[in-house]
Each structure stands twice: as structure tokens, then as C-alpha cells.
Symmetry: C2
Subunit: 407 residues, 2 copies
């Protein structure tokens, strides 16, 4: 059984690298802090006899040998990079839980049939280099090595340059090694487990997501002398669109539909000027691909209706789509058995957020384990998961990995 105290100590030690004012961490991908975090992990792993390989996009593969090193490894992992004002758990827990699994096996002198692999994926957050999850995507063949290395940060530094600068430009071809299976432990980043008093989420897949950039063009005009009936108010049109789609999502009592407008900007805003142009983002999600298609069609219809209702021209570009992911039944079952063995309340659930496991699942049997996080908050210095839940998730991870590594 894993050592929850030791796990917590390693989480808190990692959080000291790039600490922020309010108790979070700042380790932007491939920054000096991110590199220092990686070096600390490597030091810990080498101390228990593990070996490191680094691929050409900087993904770390840390191997614990098995009895049959000709077999593909059972892998776990996540990411060590954070948001600018990030928390201490998002990504980090999944990596340090893997370390804790290795340390536990080491202490007890257990050698599994298959080798085990702890993976640290480069630049998951997408905060320094867009898109997010780019290096697990490269591993799975979604992005080419060239594309990945050419991503630039806001100072014009490429991901490739940053890798070289911080000493993590590896030699191993991207896509190696083949993984027998992959498990990722993560905080839920939502409120469901906490609200429902459940300790473990057995993650069966990831909802589909589509991102859109929307522009509404009306006519700027003076707020005072312009009669309501003459107006072509781009913000009024945006408000109608948002209100209608929110109501539509709320009306889906299954809870499968999610609609979020995260950004909205008025061109040249002024208190007494009717907004002439509004740009907004639309994030549509659903756990069923066909329903996501229907949701997008609904969005298109609501958008088109604005032209008649508000006299605005509309333009919408789909800039990203991630299809619904259904994880491997065998990996899901292994997680469920491990959760049940703990005697705690758990639920099967879809992940609402994207994770490295989304891409990895394309090339290896995969599933995920969620634990509750306080108030569902993440990407925030206030992010918190209890030591008990961290330990519990890690125990579930250990048992799921052992099951897959010994059969």
C-alpha cells in the first residue's frame, strides 16, 4: 500500500519550484522552473534505479524494469507544467503518483512482469505554447514533430529552442516506446465528486469539444439619438445568442450538453455608443458525438437568426474539434475493480476537460482516475485536493497498473 505522507511531501516539494504569492505554482512549459521540476523528479526516480529516456519533443519516459523487458510497458503519467497562476495538483499529481507507485514497489522489492513507465508530457497546459497537449498529441501522431517543435511562445521562442535551452531536447523518435496501457490520475477539475460525496471517478472517456471564433458585425451609432428600431446592435445580438444557447443547454436534463462563452470583446467600446462589432468565443461540448453535431447545428441556426432579428452580419470559424473519446473497456474495468477494492464511493464518469490521455488513447489502451478537488476549482492558485484523496487515487492507480502489468 502506498505511503500517502510521502506522496504529499513530494507534492509540496514540487510546489516549491516556481511558487506563487498565493500558494500556487508557476512552471510554464520548458521554463527554468519547469526544467528544475523535471530534474527533481529525475533525481528521485534515479535514486530508486529507474532510467530516463527523452524523446525529440521533450517527453520524459522513466522506466522501472520488469521481469520481461521485451514486453511493452504499462505506463502512467501526466504533466509538470502549470498555468501562470496554476495550482499544485493539476498534472503534478498524476506524475508524482507514478513516482509513489515506483517507490512503493521499490520498498517492497516487487518486480512486475511487464516494465513500468512514468511519462511526463511536455507543454500540456498550452499556456506558453499553443495548442495544449501538443506533445502527447505528437506522440499519438496527431501533430508532426516539425509542427510541434515550431510552436512559438509570445516572445517568438520556438518549442524546439526552449527544449534545447533547458536541456530537454531528447534523441528518442517521437511515438516510442509503444505502451501496453496508459493510466492517468488527475483532479476532476469540476464539482461533481465533491458534491456527490464520492472519492473516485472511474473515467470512461472524454466529452467531445468544439471551439469557435465568432464575429458579429452591426453598426456603431450614438446611444442617444438612434431609435431602437434603427439599431444594428452587435452586443444585443450576442446577448440573444448566449441566452438562447444557455437555455438550450440547461434544458438538457441529462446534463450532457455544455455551452460556454469565455471571451467577449466589443470593438472600440464606449458607454454611449451602440456596439458595432463583437467578437466572442464559443465552446461546445457533449458526451455523445451525434448530439454534439446537433448542438453545433443548433448554434449555427441561432447565429443565422441574428441577421434577421438584429441586422448583424455573422461569421463563425471552427478552430478546434476534439471528438468524443471512449476509453478502453479493459483499462476502465481495471480502474473500477481497484476503486471497488478500496471500499469507497465512486462513479463512472466522462471527463469534461481534455487531458494527455485523450491523445494517448489513440495509440494505447487507456483510462483515467479522478479524485475530487475543492469547489471544483483548478487553473488557480486556490486549487486543492486533500492528502487522503491524493493517496486514495494513487492506491487505485497502483492496483490498476499491477493488474495490467502482471497479466
Amino acid at each position: 500500500s502506498i505511503d500517502g505522507q510521502r506522496l504529499w511531501s513530494s507534492l509540496m516539494a514540487m510546489a516549491e519550484i516556481g511558487p506563487t504569492a498565493n500558494g500556487g505554482s508557476c512552471r510554464l512549459a520548458l521554463s527554468e522552473e519547469d526544467a528544475a521540476g523535471r530534474r527533481l523528479l529525475i533525481e528521485w526516480c534515479e535514486a530508486i534505479g529507474c532510467t530516463l529516456r527523452v524523446d525529440r519533443v521533450g517527453n520524459l519516459f522513466i522506466r522501472r524494469p520488469g521481469k520481461r523487458d521485451d514486453l511493452d510497458p504499462v505506463a502512467t503519467g501526466s504533466h509538470l507544467d502549470t498555468q501562470p497562476k496554476g495550482g499544485r495538483f493539476d498534472g503534478i499529481l498524476g506524475v508524482l503518483a507514478g513516482l509513489e507507485v515506483f517507490r512503493t514497489l521499490h520498498d517492497q522489492g516487487i518486480v512486475t512482469e511487464r516494465p513500468l513507465e512514468l511519462v511526463v508530457w511536455t507543454n500540456e497546459e498550452g499556456s506558453r505554447f499553443a495548442p495544449a497537449m501538443v506533445a502527447s498529441g505528437a506522440f499519438a501522431g496527431e501533430f508532426s514533430e516539425e509542427y510541434t517543435l515550431a510552436r512559438t511562445d509570445r516572445d517568438g521562442v520556438t518549442l524546439g529552442q526552449a527544449l534545447a535551452a533547458c536541456g530537454f531536447a531528447g534523441e528518442m523518435p517521437v511515438g516510442e516506446p509503444r505502451l501496453a496501457s496508459f493510466f492517468e490520475l488527475h483532479i476532476e477539475q469540476g464539482p461533481v465528486l465533491e458534491e456527490e460525496n464520492e472519492a473516485i471517478g472511474v473515467v470512461t472517456g472524454v466529452q467531445g469539444m468544439r471551439w469557435f471564433d465568432v464575429t458579429l458585425r452591426g453598426q456603431p451609432a450614438h446611444a442617444g439619438p438612434t431609435p431602437m428600431t434603427y439599431r444594428r446592435d452587435a452586443l444585443a445580438a450576442a446577448a440573444r445568442l448566449i441566452d438562447r444557447l444557455q437555455a438550450h443547454a440547461l434544458a438538457d436534463t441529462s446534463g450532457g450538453t455544455k455551452v460556454t462563452v469565455g471571451c467577449l470583446e466589443i470593438d472600440s467600446p464606449s458607454r454611449n455608443v451602440i456596439p458595432g462589432e463583437v467578437r466572442l468565443t464559443m465552446d461546445l461540448r457533449h458526451v455523445v458525438e451525434a448530439e454534439l453535431d446537433a448542438l453545433e447545428a443548433r448554434f449555427d441556426r441561432e447565429l443565422a437568426a441574428l441577421t434577421e432579428a438584429f441586422g448583424v452580419e455573422t461569421a463563425s470559424e471552427r478552430i478546434w474539434a476534439s471528438p468524443v473519446v471512449n476509453f478502453d473497456a479493459g483499462c476502465i474495468d481495471a480502474v473500477e475493480r481497484a476503486a471497488r477494492a478500496q471500499g469507497v464511493a465512486y462513479r463512472r464518469m466522462m471527463s469534461g476537460a481534455g487531458h494527455d490521455a485523450v491523445y494517448v488513447s489513440r495509440v494505447a489502451p487507456t483510462s483515467m482516475i479522478f479524485i475530487p478537488c475543492r469547489d471544483g476549482i483548478s487553473h488557480n492558485e486556490a486549487e486543492y485536493a486533500t492528502p487522503e484523496h491524493c493517496a486514495l487515487g494513487t492506491q487505485v492507480l497502483l492496483e490498476a497498473m499491477l493488474e495490467r502489468a502482471n497479466t
Copy 2:
């Protein structure tokens, strides 16, 4: 009868002071450009025997003597300052029309009973120093001299310092001279006259206006894992508020109700984060004060309803209120008679925008004359009024002033 060609030439000459790239003007209040514009006007007026007085907030009073200089003058005027990318007509027309009236009387050797006064009000636009119309407000007793002189621009320069620097810190006490009546010619800044094919607006008053700063506070959360029913989405709440109030305003078939949200900002916006806080501005207007009260009450109710519907805290501060203004019946009638005498289509109408005449009307019988402007556009380099309409408005001004100055 006035000389439309001469009027147009003076408008175009003034536009050359602080010209902008796309055919507009930039003469921010009390800038070097604004001062140069004032000097040009003064030169023109002194050439026809007028005399200048400047009050302590920089308002220019340019007098054409009458037969009875013991009587209060009949006045006209507007402002010469512009928005940063302003047009060539907003304010300027009202000043140069007064010059054209003086020149016409000068050419024809006409001396009125009462003296005439051309007034240039300082800082009408409010673009450099807030609030707008501050110096006509000071003239009318709405703002103290100290308050007015202490207004600061974004570089920390006070209005008083700017007056001294550009040579327009006058000696005359603010509020002098008393005016027998005041007429202001202005572009409509809205689309009604153009759409209705009418050449003159006989302005009977100015609608009441109230400005609010609104904050909606919910909870930021990840767009993916947060179920719709758990959300406290500040933007969804804002959208509901805007949509409801827009619908309410449109349902008023009298056209008296106007609702505009000109600014809306999300705190720390991110595409996949549910907005936790939104700040927006609300501009409510109505031509009837009691209806404006009812509109504000409706706004308060819709705002309060958001707490229940979206779980957001709401705060709203009324930062400015300008009551409904009803101009002087005698001045309105004088304008209407002058308009009718031209044989053109005209309408009695309320002004949708605030003007210096709003404040002046508190201390002198006042009305305004509107002419159409292209597409209702103002505060914009594309602002345009035809030479014919400018001349027509000036002719109406001349006749209204003569009627009041000779009786």
C-alpha cells in the same frame, strides 16, 4: 440670406486644424489644435467688429453690438473641441453658423435691437476632461468653478493648467453674461431626419439620461467539467439582462425608451473558463421623466432576478443622471416659424444626445435646431452633413435669432 458657400469654406478651413488621416479632425479640448481653432474664429470675428470676452473656465463670448447694449444678448454657439477621431460638424457647425449669421448681418449693415453673442463652450466632448459639457454646466451653476478647473486629463494636467497653457484662462466671472435666449444648431447625430426625408429638426427638449456601472459576480470555473446546473456564469447573467431590457425597449412602440450597453468586460477572460465576473455599463434614456423612473425600476428588477436565476451577486451604481429637459416654448416657436418659412419638411423632436444647450436652458430660454447627418453617424471621421443642410440650418438660426433680438 446667409452665404452657404462661405459657411462651407469656413467649416472646411476649421477642419484643416488638427486634420486626421480619414478626413476628420482632432482638436481635443484646450490642446494646441483647439487653441488654434479658437484663434482662427476670433480673428474672423474681430475682422467684422466683434469683441471677445473669456470667462474663467475658458468659455468664449464674442459680442456683436446691438442698438440697445443695456439689454441681455440673444446668443448662439456650441463647441470647437472634437473627439480624438472626430468629425468636421459636431459642435463646429453650431459655432461657424453663428459666425455666418454675424457676417451676413455685417454685410447687410443690419444692427439688431439686442446685442448678439456667439459662445464657444469649453470641453463639450468630455473626451480629454470628464465630464462632458462641463463648462456650459459651470456657466449654468451645475458645477463650481473650482470643480471645473480641477478636472484632469489622463496625463494629470488639470483643465485650469491647460487653460493657462493655451492662453484661454479668462477674467470674466463664470455665469456672466446673462443671456436673453440661446439657440444651438447641431447635426442630429441620429438617423431620423435623413430616413424621414426631413431637412430640419425643431428641437423641443432633450431626453433624460441615466448612466450606471454594473458588476455581476459569479464563480470562474472550467468550461469542461462544470455541469450547467452548477454554474454561476456572470456572462450568461449579463446576456439575460441585456436581452430582457432590449426586448422591453423594443416593445415600447412610442419609441421613447432607449437602452444601450456600450461596454462589457469579462474579468480574466479565457476560452475554456466560465466568466466569474463581468462589468458593464448601462445607458437608459427616455423622453418622459416618469417613464425613465419606471425604466430604471425595471432595470433594477431584471438585475435582482439574476441572483436567483444565475447565482450571481449584482451591484449597480448610478454615476450620472440628466433629467428630461423641455426647452422654452417661445424659443421653440421661433425656430418652428423660421423652419416653416423655408418651405422645407421639418419635425418637432426631442434630442437624443446631451448638448451644451441642456445646461444653458437652466439659465436662459433655449432651443435647438437639428439638421440631418449622413447615416446618423457622428463622433467619427466619416461624419457628414451636406452644404445645403448646413446652409438651411444656419438660415433658420439667423431668422430665429433676429426674431428674438428685435422684440
